[in-house]
Protein backbone atom coordinates (compact mmCIF):
# COMPACT_ATOMS: atom_id res chain seq x y z
CA UNK A 1 0.00 0.00 0.00
CA UNK A 2 1.50 3.32 -1.05
CA UNK A 3 1.32 6.50 1.01
CA UNK A 4 -1.21 7.83 -1.47
CA UNK A 5 -3.42 4.74 -1.22
CA UNK A 6 -3.28 4.82 2.55
CA UNK A 7 -4.34 8.46 2.71
CA UNK A 8 -7.15 7.86 0.21
CA UNK A 9 -8.49 4.96 2.27
CA UNK A 10 -8.14 6.92 5.50
CA UNK A 11 -10.17 9.85 4.21
CA UNK A 12 -12.83 7.49 2.89
CA UNK A 13 -13.01 5.78 6.28
CA UNK A 14 -13.52 9.06 8.13
CA UNK A 15 -16.12 10.29 5.64
CA UNK A 16 -18.00 6.97 5.54
CA UNK A 17 -18.18 6.95 9.34
CA UNK A 18 -19.68 10.42 9.52
CA UNK A 19 -22.08 9.76 6.65
CA UNK A 20 -23.46 6.45 7.94
CA UNK A 21 -24.04 7.77 11.45
CA UNK A 22 -25.52 10.98 10.05
CA UNK A 23 -27.87 8.90 7.94
CA UNK A 24 -28.92 6.76 10.90
CA UNK A 25 -29.73 9.87 12.95
CA UNK A 26 -31.67 11.36 10.04
CA UNK A 27 -34.00 8.37 10.31
CA UNK A 28 -35.27 9.95 13.55
CA UNK A 29 -36.61 12.97 11.65
CA UNK A 30 -40.30 13.27 12.49
CA UNK A 31 -40.12 10.31 14.88
CA UNK A 32 -38.43 11.86 17.91
CA UNK A 33 -40.04 11.18 21.28
CA UNK A 34 -40.61 14.90 21.76
CA UNK A 35 -40.09 17.92 19.49
CA UNK A 36 -36.91 19.20 21.11
CA UNK A 37 -35.16 15.81 20.83
CA UNK A 38 -36.33 15.38 17.23
CA UNK A 39 -34.52 18.65 16.51
CA UNK A 40 -31.48 17.74 18.58
CA UNK A 41 -30.93 14.41 16.83
CA UNK A 42 -31.45 15.82 13.36
CA UNK A 43 -29.14 18.75 14.14
CA UNK A 44 -26.43 16.23 15.04
CA UNK A 45 -27.23 14.35 11.82
CA UNK A 46 -26.71 17.54 9.81
CA UNK A 47 -23.43 18.27 11.59
CA UNK A 48 -22.14 14.78 10.75
CA UNK A 49 -23.28 14.92 7.14
CA UNK A 50 -21.57 18.30 6.83
CA UNK A 51 -18.34 16.77 8.15
CA UNK A 52 -18.77 13.87 5.74
CA UNK A 53 -19.09 16.31 2.83
CA UNK A 54 -15.89 18.14 3.71
CA UNK A 55 -13.97 14.90 3.98
CA UNK A 56 -15.49 13.37 0.81
CA UNK A 57 -14.59 16.52 -1.11
CA UNK A 58 -11.00 16.13 0.03
CA UNK A 59 -11.05 12.40 -0.78
CA UNK A 60 -12.37 13.19 -4.25
CA UNK A 61 -9.52 15.62 -4.99
CA UNK A 62 -7.04 13.01 -3.74
CA UNK A 63 -8.46 10.44 -6.15
CA UNK A 64 -8.56 12.88 -9.03
CA UNK A 65 -9.98 11.63 -12.35
CA UNK A 66 -12.87 14.08 -11.98
CA UNK A 67 -14.42 12.19 -9.04
CA UNK A 68 -16.84 14.10 -6.88
CA UNK A 69 -18.14 13.74 -3.32
CA UNK A 70 -21.37 12.32 -4.75
CA UNK A 71 -19.53 9.56 -6.62
CA UNK A 72 -17.88 8.48 -3.39
CA UNK A 73 -20.99 8.65 -1.21
CA UNK A 74 -23.57 7.30 -3.65
CA UNK A 75 -21.80 4.93 -6.01
CA UNK A 76 -19.71 2.76 -3.70
CA UNK A 77 -21.04 -0.53 -2.41
CA UNK A 78 -21.13 -1.85 1.14
CA UNK A 79 -18.04 -3.91 0.32
CA UNK A 80 -16.16 -0.65 -0.14
CA UNK A 81 -17.42 1.35 2.83
CA UNK A 82 -14.89 1.62 5.65
CA UNK A 83 -16.93 2.80 8.63
CA UNK A 84 -16.73 0.89 11.93
CA UNK A 85 -19.67 -1.42 12.70
CA UNK A 86 -20.97 0.71 15.59
CA UNK A 87 -22.35 3.47 13.38
CA UNK A 88 -24.39 1.20 11.12
CA UNK A 89 -26.31 -0.43 13.99
CA UNK A 90 -30.06 0.21 13.98
CA UNK A 91 -31.48 3.15 15.92
CA UNK A 92 -33.61 0.96 18.18
CA UNK A 93 -35.31 3.08 20.82
CA UNK A 94 -34.10 6.39 22.25
CA UNK A 95 -31.88 4.59 24.77
CA UNK A 96 -30.18 2.51 22.03
CA UNK A 97 -29.59 5.65 19.98
CA UNK A 98 -28.18 7.57 22.96
CA UNK A 99 -25.88 4.72 23.99
CA UNK A 100 -24.54 4.41 20.44
CA UNK A 101 -24.14 8.19 20.18
CA UNK A 102 -22.41 8.50 23.56
CA UNK A 103 -19.81 5.82 22.86
CA UNK A 104 -19.14 7.34 19.45
CA UNK A 105 -19.03 10.98 20.60
CA UNK A 106 -16.46 10.29 23.34
CA UNK A 107 -14.26 8.64 20.72
CA UNK A 108 -14.94 11.30 18.08
CA UNK A 109 -14.09 14.21 20.37
CA UNK A 110 -10.80 12.64 21.42
CA UNK A 111 -10.15 11.70 17.79
CA UNK A 112 -10.66 15.17 16.30
CA UNK A 113 -8.72 16.75 19.19
CA UNK A 114 -5.75 14.69 18.01
CA UNK A 115 -6.42 15.03 14.28
CA UNK A 116 -6.16 18.81 14.41
CA UNK A 117 -2.42 18.28 14.90
CA UNK A 118 -2.15 16.26 11.69
CA UNK A 119 0.62 17.09 9.22
CA UNK A 120 -2.06 17.04 6.54
CA UNK A 121 -3.34 20.62 6.55
CA UNK A 122 -6.75 19.82 5.11
CA UNK A 123 -7.50 17.13 7.66
CA UNK A 124 -6.21 19.37 10.45
CA UNK A 125 -8.52 22.19 9.33
CA UNK A 126 -11.53 19.86 9.06
CA UNK A 127 -10.75 18.53 12.52
CA UNK A 128 -10.52 22.02 14.02
CA UNK A 129 -13.88 23.04 12.61
CA UNK A 130 -15.61 19.77 13.45
CA UNK A 131 -14.33 19.84 17.00
CA UNK A 132 -16.77 22.59 17.99
CA UNK A 133 -19.70 20.54 16.73
CA UNK A 134 -18.49 17.30 18.28
CA UNK A 135 -17.90 19.00 21.61
CA UNK A 136 -21.60 19.75 21.74
CA UNK A 137 -22.50 16.21 20.60
CA UNK A 138 -20.46 14.76 23.47
CA UNK A 139 -22.13 17.12 25.92
CA UNK A 140 -25.57 16.24 24.61
CA UNK A 141 -25.16 12.45 24.68
CA UNK A 142 -23.36 12.48 28.06
CA UNK A 143 -26.14 14.56 29.63
CA UNK A 144 -28.73 12.09 28.30
CA UNK A 145 -26.75 9.12 29.64
CA UNK A 146 -26.99 10.74 33.09
CA UNK A 147 -30.69 11.45 32.81
CA UNK A 148 -31.60 8.01 31.53
CA UNK A 149 -29.28 6.13 33.86
CA UNK A 150 -29.99 8.15 36.97
CA UNK A 151 -33.65 8.59 36.01
CA UNK A 152 -36.60 6.32 36.61
CA UNK A 153 -36.42 2.55 37.05
CA UNK A 154 -37.68 2.12 33.51
CA UNK A 155 -35.17 4.49 31.91
CA UNK A 156 -32.34 2.96 33.93
CA UNK A 157 -33.23 -0.53 32.76
CA UNK A 158 -33.52 0.52 29.12
CA UNK A 159 -30.22 2.37 28.98
CA UNK A 160 -28.38 -0.40 30.83
CA UNK A 161 -29.72 -2.92 28.29
CA UNK A 162 -28.67 -0.64 25.45
CA UNK A 163 -25.16 -0.25 26.92
CA UNK A 164 -24.81 -4.02 27.42
CA UNK A 165 -25.98 -4.79 23.86
CA UNK A 166 -23.77 -2.24 22.14
CA UNK A 167 -20.61 -2.75 24.18
CA UNK A 168 -19.03 -5.34 21.88
CA UNK A 169 -19.04 -2.83 19.02
CA UNK A 170 -17.09 -0.16 20.88
CA UNK A 171 -13.67 -1.79 20.73
CA UNK A 172 -13.39 -1.35 16.98
CA UNK A 173 -13.38 2.43 17.38
CA UNK A 174 -9.88 2.38 18.88
CA UNK A 175 -8.55 -0.61 16.94
CA UNK A 176 -5.74 0.33 14.52
CA UNK A 177 -6.03 -1.06 10.99
CA UNK A 178 -3.13 -1.36 8.54
CA UNK A 179 -4.29 1.85 6.86
CA UNK A 180 -4.37 3.70 10.19
CA UNK A 181 -0.91 2.46 11.10
CA UNK A 182 0.40 3.65 7.73
CA UNK A 183 -1.03 7.18 8.01
CA UNK A 184 0.13 7.43 11.61
CA UNK A 185 3.67 6.68 10.48
CA UNK A 186 3.38 9.62 8.05
CA UNK A 187 2.34 11.98 10.84
CA UNK A 188 -1.06 12.37 9.22
CA UNK A 189 -3.25 9.98 11.17
CA UNK A 190 -4.28 9.63 14.79
CA UNK A 191 -2.74 7.15 17.22
CA UNK A 192 -5.79 5.28 18.49
CA UNK A 193 -3.70 3.62 21.18
CA UNK A 194 -3.49 7.05 22.81
CA UNK A 195 -7.22 7.65 22.35
CA UNK A 196 -8.20 4.38 24.02
CA UNK A 197 -7.37 5.33 27.64
CA UNK A 198 -9.06 8.73 27.18
CA UNK A 199 -12.17 6.93 25.93
CA UNK A 200 -12.19 4.41 28.76
CA UNK A 201 -11.71 7.11 31.38
CA UNK A 202 -14.54 9.30 30.13
CA UNK A 203 -16.93 6.38 29.59
CA UNK A 204 -16.14 5.03 33.05
CA UNK A 205 -16.83 8.36 34.75
CA UNK A 206 -20.10 9.04 32.93
CA UNK A 207 -21.42 5.50 33.46
CA UNK A 208 -20.57 5.75 37.15
CA UNK A 209 -22.33 9.08 37.54
CA UNK A 210 -25.29 7.64 35.64
CA UNK A 211 -25.38 4.73 38.15
CA UNK A 212 -24.84 2.31 35.24
CA UNK A 213 -22.69 -0.80 35.20
CA UNK A 214 -19.75 -0.79 32.79
CA UNK A 215 -19.78 -4.12 30.91
CA UNK A 216 -16.81 -6.32 31.71
CA UNK A 217 -16.53 -8.32 28.52
CA UNK A 218 -13.43 -7.60 26.48
CA UNK A 219 -14.46 -9.56 23.35
CA UNK A 220 -15.09 -7.10 20.56
CA UNK A 221 -16.73 -7.21 17.13
CA UNK A 222 -14.60 -5.98 14.29
CA UNK A 223 -14.34 -5.73 10.53
CA UNK A 224 -16.19 -2.58 9.49
CA UNK A 225 -13.01 -0.60 8.95
CA UNK A 226 -11.85 -3.45 6.69
CA UNK A 227 -15.09 -3.33 4.70
CA UNK A 228 -16.63 -6.42 6.37
CA UNK A 229 -20.02 -5.19 7.47
CA UNK A 230 -23.20 -6.35 9.18
CA UNK A 231 -26.23 -6.83 6.96
CA UNK A 232 -27.52 -3.47 8.18
CA UNK A 233 -25.22 -1.48 5.92
CA UNK A 234 -26.71 -3.05 2.80
CA UNK A 235 -30.16 -1.73 3.73
CA UNK A 236 -28.82 1.69 4.66
CA UNK A 237 -27.02 2.11 1.34
CA UNK A 238 -29.99 0.77 -0.62
CA UNK A 239 -32.11 3.53 0.84
CA UNK A 240 -29.43 6.22 0.65
CA UNK A 241 -28.19 5.42 -2.85
CA UNK A 242 -31.13 4.12 -4.85
CA UNK A 243 -32.20 7.50 -6.15
CA UNK A 244 -28.77 8.45 -7.44
CA UNK A 245 -28.23 4.99 -8.90
CA UNK A 246 -31.64 4.96 -10.62
CA UNK A 247 -31.18 8.45 -12.05
CA UNK A 248 -27.43 8.92 -12.44
CA UNK A 249 -26.33 12.54 -12.37
CA UNK A 250 -29.72 13.72 -11.07
CA UNK A 251 -29.70 16.94 -9.07
CA UNK A 252 -32.24 19.13 -7.27
Amino acid sequence: MTKKEALQKYTLQLADTALVLGHRLSEWCGHGPILEQDMALTNIALDLIGQARSIYQYAATLQGEGRTEDDLAYLRSEMEFLNPLLVELPNGDFADTIARQFFFDVYNYAFYSALKNSKDETLAAIAEKSLKEVRYHQRYSSEWMLRLGDGTEESHEKIQTAVDNIWMYTGELTEMTEVEKAVLADGVGVDLEKIKPIWIEKVKSVLAEATLKMPESSWMQSGGKNARHTEHLGFILAQMQHLQRTHPGASW
Partner: protein, 94 residues
Protein backbone atom coordinates in the same frame (compact mmCIF):
# COMPACT_ATOMS: atom_id res chain seq x y z
CA UNK B 1 -43.47 13.28 29.38
CA UNK B 2 -45.52 16.46 29.18
CA UNK B 3 -47.04 15.46 32.52
CA UNK B 4 -43.89 15.87 34.53
CA UNK B 5 -41.57 17.98 32.37
CA UNK B 6 -42.05 21.63 33.27
CA UNK B 7 -42.45 24.37 30.68
CA UNK B 8 -39.61 26.83 30.30
CA UNK B 9 -39.62 30.31 28.76
CA UNK B 10 -36.61 31.02 26.55
CA UNK B 11 -34.86 34.39 26.12
CA UNK B 12 -32.09 34.94 23.57
CA UNK B 13 -29.68 37.84 23.16
CA UNK B 14 -28.44 38.37 19.62
CA UNK B 15 -24.83 39.17 18.72
CA UNK B 16 -25.60 42.88 18.25
CA UNK B 17 -28.21 43.00 20.98
CA UNK B 18 -28.08 44.43 24.44
CA UNK B 19 -30.92 42.52 26.04
CA UNK B 20 -32.43 39.06 25.97
CA UNK B 21 -35.66 38.79 23.97
CA UNK B 22 -38.40 36.28 24.63
CA UNK B 23 -38.44 33.83 21.71
CA UNK B 24 -40.69 31.03 22.85
CA UNK B 25 -41.00 28.12 25.21
CA UNK B 26 -40.15 24.44 25.43
CA UNK B 27 -40.42 21.42 27.71
CA UNK B 28 -37.39 20.04 29.52
CA UNK B 29 -36.75 18.02 32.64
CA UNK B 30 -34.30 20.48 34.18
CA UNK B 31 -32.41 23.73 33.59
CA UNK B 32 -29.36 22.22 31.84
CA UNK B 33 -31.55 20.30 29.44
CA UNK B 34 -33.64 23.44 28.88
CA UNK B 35 -30.52 25.35 27.78
CA UNK B 36 -29.50 22.55 25.41
CA UNK B 37 -33.00 22.28 23.96
CA UNK B 38 -33.11 26.06 23.52
CA UNK B 39 -29.78 25.92 21.73
CA UNK B 40 -31.10 23.17 19.43
CA UNK B 41 -34.49 24.72 18.73
CA UNK B 42 -33.95 28.50 18.90
CA UNK B 43 -30.40 29.19 17.72
CA UNK B 44 -30.18 27.21 14.48
CA UNK B 45 -30.11 30.31 12.30
CA UNK B 46 -27.64 32.29 14.39
CA UNK B 47 -30.41 33.98 16.33
CA UNK B 48 -28.22 34.55 19.35
CA UNK B 49 -25.14 34.23 21.49
CA UNK B 50 -26.67 33.99 24.94
CA UNK B 51 -29.58 31.98 26.31
CA UNK B 52 -31.60 32.49 29.47
CA UNK B 53 -34.25 30.00 30.54
CA UNK B 54 -36.69 30.16 33.38
CA UNK B 55 -39.55 27.95 34.42
CA UNK B 56 -42.80 29.42 33.20
CA UNK B 57 -44.39 29.07 36.62
CA UNK B 58 -41.86 31.58 37.99
CA UNK B 59 -43.20 34.32 35.76
CA UNK B 60 -45.85 36.57 37.20
CA UNK B 61 -47.71 38.58 34.60
CA UNK B 62 -50.07 41.52 34.82
CA UNK B 63 -53.71 40.68 34.14
CA UNK B 64 -55.29 42.08 30.95
CA UNK B 65 -58.42 43.10 32.95
CA UNK B 66 -56.23 45.40 35.03
CA UNK B 67 -54.44 47.11 32.14
CA UNK B 68 -56.77 50.13 32.25
CA UNK B 69 -55.91 50.96 35.84
CA UNK B 70 -52.24 50.03 35.43
CA UNK B 71 -51.37 51.81 32.20
CA UNK B 72 -53.89 54.42 31.07
CA UNK B 73 -53.23 57.03 33.79
CA UNK B 74 -49.77 57.58 32.29
CA UNK B 75 -51.29 58.71 28.99
CA UNK B 76 -51.96 62.35 29.94
CA UNK B 77 -48.97 63.07 32.17
CA UNK B 78 -46.74 64.89 29.70
CA UNK B 79 -44.52 66.29 32.47
CA UNK B 80 -43.03 62.81 32.94
CA UNK B 81 -41.19 63.08 29.63
CA UNK B 82 -37.84 64.93 29.49
CA UNK B 83 -38.86 66.64 26.23
CA UNK B 84 -41.60 68.54 28.08
CA UNK B 85 -39.00 70.83 29.65
CA UNK B 86 -37.39 73.83 27.94
CA UNK B 87 -33.78 73.99 28.92
CA UNK B 88 -31.80 77.24 28.72
CA UNK B 89 -29.07 77.13 26.07
CA UNK B 90 -26.43 77.75 28.71
CA UNK B 91 -27.00 74.27 30.09
CA UNK B 92 -24.74 72.25 27.85
CA UNK B 93 -24.80 68.78 29.33
CA UNK B 94 -28.19 67.52 30.43
Amino acid sequence: MKNNWPLWEVFIRSKQGLHHKHVGSLHASDATMAIENARDVYTRRQEGVSIWVMESENITASKPEESEALFEPAADKVYRHPTFYDLPDELKHM
